[in-house]
Symmetry: C2
Subunit: 134 residues, 2 copies
DNA sequence: CGCAAATATACCTTGACACGTATATGTTGT
DNA sequence: ACAACATATACGTGTCAAGGTATATTTGCG
């Protein structure tokens, strides 16, 4: 009964705030452990341990630079998150569209009425107002 | 000294596999607790508890339908994840571009050596990618 | 009214994991 | 080889969240 190492899902990895901070820092450029430690003001063992998790999950890779280790991002896990998110994208953009149409209608109403009459939604709710631009 | 309840980050919410399963199920259409319970084969209290977490995090909302409660998705938290992911998108698409260029070069080589072998590098399949400027 | 169905909640236990502190490993320069 | 630095790991501890079981709550129906 040997457990090798349960490779955890990318979602568990990015659930940790400090790890997200490290990733956001590394997106700018590669950095050494010491740099991360100073910029994020977290103790060095904490940084090292999180980097280990990130490396084993494929989020980062490291190269040796003298006594330092330089860590940089790898793209694959992010793409995995993106792929998961994709199934919801159509759904939520539909909602955003609905919201935008609604706001457009409100704008329209304000324009047509007069600015001095802040009133409620009235019967002409079905203004056939076509496409917004952009 | 009562803490209301610290609203946890969207990332902690989606870190849980059962919750991701529920979300993926709800993207198709709204469902009752019992439907989720049966389709995902998880005990009812588990479903209810996860739904509670999802509701409090804004991932779902519910309406009452007789004895049932119908749960459906809400878009905002997904957009939040997407927003976080956005900062890495430029980075990773650069990598994808590099990979594609590399594969293109390989194709090129193959074409030059074996003109009869059709290669199927399709431009721009589904990779959301901003305009590369060389 | 009383029973059954659907859902929510309470309580307990267990395991994972993040942290701090201490120490090990490794590398450079003198 | 040694000192100083940079990074990794080991160990003990506390917290918190997920699961299981039992029970409460709400609503529909005969």
């Amino acid at each position: 009964m040997k457990y090798i190492k349960d490779m955890e899902s990318v979602f568990e990895i990015i659930a940790e705030p400090n790890r997200r901070a490290i990733l956001s820092l590394l997106v700018l450029s590669q950095k050494s452990v010491g740099e991360i430690e100073r910029k994020l003001r977290m103790p060095q063992p904490t940084v090292s341990k999180h980097l280990r998790v990130l490396r084993e999950a494929g989020f980062v890779e490291s190269t040796v630079d003298a006594q330092r280790r330089l860590y940089r991002l790898k793209p694959e896990p992010f793409q995995e998150v993106d792929a998961w998110l994709a199934q919801f994208r159509r759904f939520w953009s539909a909602h955003v569209d609905a919201l935008e149409r609604h706001l457009d209608r409100m704008d329209q109403d304000r324009m047509e009425h007069h600015p001095s009459t802040p009133t409620k939604r009235k019967p002409n709710e079905k203004t056939t107002r076509p496409k917004p631009r952009t």
